[in-house]
């Protein structure tokens, strides 16, 4: 284990002050399932580890019909996975967190940590983007809200300024006649990073697609929305032909790379396949 100093501040103000004073070699530590690995494998220079688990009021997991689901920065993936309200109202997020590492990892890993790590392949990001999640970002100047899809700049990079801390994430309440799904594609079923991840959330009205959001993971430097595929669907009656067209468009919106897990061409193909399957599932179209 490489050496580092450990801090356990009791408030966001103190954590933020430490981040600003200690500079580039300081990292926030919640679950540590990425951070400690990156330190140990010397992928990250980190001389100061700032544990946020002693800060009060960051362990929220609550739902109400007005605000939706609120998840604090300390709430673990496993807590979300086994939450009855998440399973019934946000099955897309429930399946995404259940596909993240092992139970041992999920007992430590946090949803907000998965967001802030900003991996293009992070499982939780496509469903959060498709559902229009909003981050609460704390700084000494106060709190600001930011739609999650505007948070990511590149692999591992976000818009956070030094001293800003994501205190939680809020997912709007599911509308009536809405449906949502996340489909992860990997080389095996467990302990796997996504080769491609596709999330679709749809609002239906009388056989038509009133609104739809399609989010793609692991096929661009950040998770992205397939905006042109969404536009092709929005307001239209959903038919197998329209679904096939939208899936084709989504393929053209992906900009995947080839790496150890898959080639760019394979990823692009799978965007088409998974987008079609996801749309069929959420619209109840004949398969």
């Amino acid at each position: 284990m490489r050496r580092f100093r450990y801090y356990a501040p009791n408030s966001l103000a103190e954590a933020s002050r430490l981040l600003r004073e200690l500079g580039e070699t300081a990292s926030l530590f919640a679950g540590g399932t990425d951070l400690l690995v990156e330190i140990r494998e010397e992928l990250r220079t980190c001389a100061h580890v700032i544990d946020i688990k002693k800060i009060p009021d960051l362990h929220e997991l609550s739902f109400d019909e007005e605000r939706g689901l609120r998840v604090g920065a300390q709430t673990t993936a496993r807590e979300i996975e086994i939450s009855p309200v998440v399973r019934t109202r946000y099955p897309n997020l429930a399946s995404a967190v259940a596909a993240l590492g092992s139970i041992q990892v999920r007992n430590r890993a946090t949803l907000v940590g998965n967001i802030c790590r900003a991996s293009p392949s992070a499982d939780t990001l496509p469903p959060l983007i498709a559902d229009g999640a909003v981050l609460t970002i704390w700084s000494e100047d106060g709190e600001r809200s930011l739609p999650i899809e505007r948070f990511f700049v590149g692999p591992g990079r976000t818009v956070l300024a030094r001293g800003e801390i994501v205190a939680g994430v809020t997912i709007p309440p599911p509308r009536p006649a809405s449906a949502r799904i996340y489909i992860k594609h990997g080389r095996r079923k467990a302990m796997e990073l996504a080769t491609v991840g596709v999330a679709v959330s749809v609002d239906r009205h009388a056989g038509a697609c009133a609104d739809v959001r399609i989010a793609l993971g692991a096929v661009a430097p950040t998770p992205i929305r397939a905006l042109r595929a969404e536009a092709a669907l929005r307001g239209n009656r959903v038919t197998p032909r329209l679904i096939a067209e939208a899936a084709e468009i989504a393929m053209s919106e992906a900009t995947p790379i080839s790496n150890v897990r898959a080639s760019a061409g394979y990823r692009r193909e799978m965007v088409g396949v998974l987008t079609r399957r996801a749309l069929e599932a959420v619209t109840g179209a004949p398969q």
């Binding site: 284990m1 050496r3 540590g32 399932t33 400690l36 041992q104 007992n107 079923k189």
Partner: protein, 161 residues
């Protein structure tokens, strides 16, 4: 910097000093001398270091010892009632051939314990899902699943006192 910690390990309060960057796994093995918990990958992939921290199974390699201060840790050494009295789970692993080289076994058994504590009547899927983070290179897993299933049956018949 060194920290003075107090952790309840297998029901016994232990006080010791440890470097603040030290993992719980290294502290258990080196500072405490409990070497039943194994170090496989040291990056949270293999599950060999699974212990139960404050009631939840975790990879001890991905926990800092300092984080466990004031908490409770259960390791494989705490399972048996006495050196010659293995727990029903341990007994079942012996009877059903759930261990071959044995390196993954402490982690597998601690994860199985966490499963059965939560869910005394697991389905085949529940067992496989729970053990997804424990890698075994010998058994092919079949006999591990057999052992867990048989232990669950046994423990339901005669619940622990």
């Amino acid at each position: 910097m060194t920290r003075d910690l107090s952790i309840t390990i297998n029901g016994e309060e232990r006080e010791f000093a440890v470097a603040e960057f030290r993992s719980l796994l290294d502290a258990l093995r080196n500072e405490i001398g409990l070497t039943g918990t194994k170090k496989g990958c040291d990056v949270g992939d293999c599950g060999a270091c699974t212990v139960i921290l404050n009631g939840k199974p975790v990879n001890a390699c991905l926990v800092l010892a300092v984080e466990a201060d004031g908490g409770a840790v259960e390791t494989i050494e705490g399972l048996q009632a006495a050196p010659d009295k293995p727990s029903p789970l341990q007994e079942s692993f012996m009877v059903h051939g759930g261990a071959q080289c044995g390196f993954c076994t402490p982690g597998v058994i601690m994860m199985a314990k966490a499963l059965l504590d939560d869910n005394p009547e697991p389905s085949e899927h529940d067992i496989r899902f729970a053990l997804a983070g424990n890698i075994c290179r010998c058994t092919g897993y079949t006999k591990i699943f057999d052992a867990v299933r048989a232990a669950a049956d046994e423990m339901r018949k005669a619940p622990a006192p």
